[in-house]
């Protein structure tokens, strides 16, 4: 569970690929240690929204059991300093192509009369100071990522079921099945999806599914120096994210669309959509 052990960027991976070791011996040793992850990988690769749960039940031994988890993400916008470490970590971890973003950071510069929002390169290189033409009363950063909605329109519109929601709450894309029609990209209200310029299939934040199923946290959470980004398990008693969602005043993005996002926000401003 020590997050420090796995920070180094993984090899280029499919949506739920486990990292492969350099030699056969190491690979075999790693396979045994990471059998939980490997099993999840196998499940994920073959997953369809309907047959997934049954397959999970068939897995024997100390496998990762997605019935025991229900993940959620918490962003405390008051803590974000706009350093962009999360965007860089995500890009490195998931080999995100240039010009596309699985996560990004928005800067809000707000006055009583007007507001300005930007996200140069998704906040990849942080933010340089700007001048705006109105008196500024507040300014803040808002990290964004896939909301892993419970009632998500992106999986609803997928014509072949390549987009699906796992039982532990992550919304994933099966890159082997995706036909690259782009309907999910259009259906996501948050702009979280894109067509990968190399694979020509839909791509998005997976909450670093290859990490979380091994007990690690998503790369962006690990990289965040201020604790803005937190990742938790709603099935664990005493989980800080669960407690925050249970006890604090949390918001979600575009709640009127009733997509039931599983990314919760603390101290969200009315300007944020």
């Amino acid at each position: 569970m020590d997050p420090k052990t796995q920070i180094s960027p993984a090899v280029p991976s499919e949506e739920v690929d486990p990292p492969a070791g350099p030699t056969r011996r190491q690979f075999l040793a790693a396979s045994v240690r990471l059998s939980g992850g490997a099993v999840v990988f196998l499940m994920g690769a073959a997953a369809s929204p309907n047959e997934g749960p049954e397959k999970a039940a068939e897995v024997k031994g100390e496998a990762y059991n997605w019935d025991e988890h229900r993940y959620a993400y918490l962003v405390d916008t008051s803590k974000c300093i706009g350093c962009g470490a999360c965007v860089r970590a995500c890009k490195a971890e998931n080999q995100v192509p240039d010009g596309f973003y699985r996560t990004w950071v928005e800067r809000y510069v707000v006055g009583m009369e007007d507001s300005h929002v930007d996200s140069p390169e998704g906040g990849l290189n942080g933010f340089s100071p700007i001048q705006v033409g109105f008196p500024v009363t507040k300014s803040f950063f808002v990290p964004k990522l896939c909301n892993h909605c419970r009632a998500t329109p992106c999986t609803q519109v997928c014509p072949v079921g390549a987009s699906y929601r796992t039982k532990d709450g992550a919304v994933l894309v099966d890159g082997e099945r995706c036909i690259g029609c782009g309907y999910c990209v259009q259906a996501c209200p948050f702009g979280s999806r894109f067509l990968h310029p190399v694979t020509h299939t839909a791509s998005k934040c997976t909450w670093c599914y290859h990490r979380i199923t091994k007990g690690l946290r998503p790369a962006c959470v690990t990289a965040c120096p201020t604790g803005t980004r937190q990742f938790g398990d709603l099935r664990q008693e005493g989980d800080p994210v669960r407690q925050a969602i249970e006890n604090d005043r949390v918001s979600i993005l575009q709640g009127h669309l009733l997509t039931e996002p599983q990314c919760y926000y603390l101290h969200l401003d009315k300007e944020v959509r």
């Binding site: 929204p49 596309f100 973003y101 990004w104 928005e106 300005h116 929002v117 930007d118 996200s119 390169e121 998704g122 964004k144 329109p153 999986t155 609803q156 519109v157 997928c158 014509p159 072949v160 079921g161 099945r177 995706c178 036909i179 690259g180 029609c181 782009g182 309907y183 990209v185 259009q186 259906a187 996501c188 209200p189 948050f190 702009g191 979280s192 999806r193 894109f194 067509l195 694979t199 020509h200 299939t201 669309l257 959509r273």
Partner: protein
């Protein structure tokens, strides 16, 4: 050079649905529109459409054959395209395409067969060798031309038209649904969308037939039937009025409600889409043909045939432009607008070559006419001389519509 005004979500600056997705509803629109025309004769017994009924059906058929191509060309993984039909995920609006398309294709194939059955038999009898075998196969082994058989044909055509009309409407209304049911995009998300798509399909179908009918008449050295042109112009006017009304209504409601998206949408149509929406869709393609067709319809009695034909043809071309720009403004316009509702990207310029380029789009538009030409060579779109009286709508009076035969 990509330019963003305001703030767009960083992934929202790509136009994922390209020119091909503009072509797709444009082409299926012709399928549905021309089927509506053929149904007006075969199903509703409107005799004035008799001269164009067969042409309309052949047009619907020709466009249907290419209707799925733009979708296939657009896919990032085209080789997986068939899985939409083999393993459809039924919560997706898109998964219905395979079913609707195949169903309509079967209905239309059957109807075409019944309508052209006599023709096929005649040709099978007339030809020798390979050609004869070909027509014999097309005739499916039955050479029955007895009055009873012809009567059965008529009944079958009527029943198939009765199934085909809702199927064609579903096929195209469904295209509108694909856009109208995307709640993430305020420029698309309205229950009016399928209706607007359907009505504009009728506009494009009728407009195309106004032109095609005259071209076919010229090529085949047949007189252009004045009654048919008047009727087509009348119905074109009617559907154009409905289409423009609904298109405006959608905007007016949005503006009057001052919905949260209105600010950005008003910016979209007055800046990025100023030319394609205001100028082309509303004025050049909307207002002007409305006036031209109003002249044709309201002053029909006073018009010389050539004036009527010319006015109708010009109006029809403008209507075709209107419908294309409407498809463009919906599909592309909706992607210039970021879901942040704070920003717009610069206008999209399609590539010239390549799978989703302008050249391919032009090829897709030309292909149905090539198919029509082949159809005409193989089966003869118009009835051959001396074969009057076949394919008539049963139980209706003839007389007002002269036979198209020369």
């Amino acid at each position: 050079m990509l330019e963003i005004s305001g703030y767009a979500f960083p992934n929202d600056v790509h136009v994922t649905w390209s020119l091909m997705i503009v072509m797709y509803p444009y082409i299926t629109g012709f399928v549905a529109g021309s089927f509506i025309v053929t149904s007006l004769y075969h199903l509703f017994g409107r005799q004035e459409f008799k001269p164009v009924a067969r042409l309309a059906m052949a047009t619907s058929f020709a466009f249907l054959l290419v209707a799925s191509l733009p979708l296939q060309l657009h896919l990032g993984q085209p080789q997986r395209g068939p899985s939409v039909m083999i393993t459809p995920h039924f919560t997706s609006a898109m998964a219905g395409f395979g079913i609707l398309y195949s169903f309509y294709l079967v209905v239309l194939l059957l109807e075409v067969w019944f309508v052209w059955r006599q023709e096929i038999i005649e040709r099978a009898k007339r030809h020798r060798g390979l050609a004869r075998t070909f027509y014999a196969v097309l005739a499916l082994g039955t050479y029955d031309q007895s009055p009873e058989a012809v009567e059965i044909d008529h009944r079958a055509i009527q029943i198939l038209a009765g199934i085909g009309l809702p199927a064609a409407c579903m096929l195209h209304g469904y295209v509108g649904f694909i856009f109208g049911a995307i709640k993430a995009n305020p420029w698309w998300s309205t229950p009016l969308m399928p209706v607007i798509f359907l009505l504009s399909a009728a506009v494009s179908g009728i407009a195309l037939l106004v032109i095609l009918y005259q071209v076919f008449a010229r090529v085949g050295r047949r007189p252009v039937d004045a009654e048919a042109i008047s009727a087509l112009a009348r119905w074109l006017w009617f559907f154009l009025i409905l289409t423009i009304t609904l298109e405006l209504l959608e905007l007016i409601v949005m503006a009057y409600e001052r919905s949260e998206s209105w600010l950005i949408i008003s910016e979209l149509i007055t800046t990025r889409l100023e030319f394609s929406y205001v100028t082309v869709q509303m004025i050049v393609g909307g207002l002007i043909p409305f006036i031209l067709l109003a002249v044709v319809v309201l002053m029909n009695r006073f018009l010389h045939e050539r004036v009527r034909n010319t006015l109708s043809t010009v109006a029809a071309f403008l209507c075709l432009l209107q419908v294309f720009s409407m498809r463009w403004n919906i599909v592309i316009g909706g992607q210039l607008l970021s879901k942040s509702l704070r920003g717009l990207r610069s206008p999209y310029e399609p590539e010239a070559f390549g799978r989703e380029g302008v050249l391919m789009a032009a090829a897709l538009l030309i292909a149905p006419f090539v198919i029509l030409w082949v159809f005409d060579r193989v089966l003869g779109i118009e009835e051959a001389e001396g074969e009057d009286g076949r394919g008539e709508a049963p139980g209706t009076e003839t007389g007002s519509a002269p036979s198209p035969t020369a």
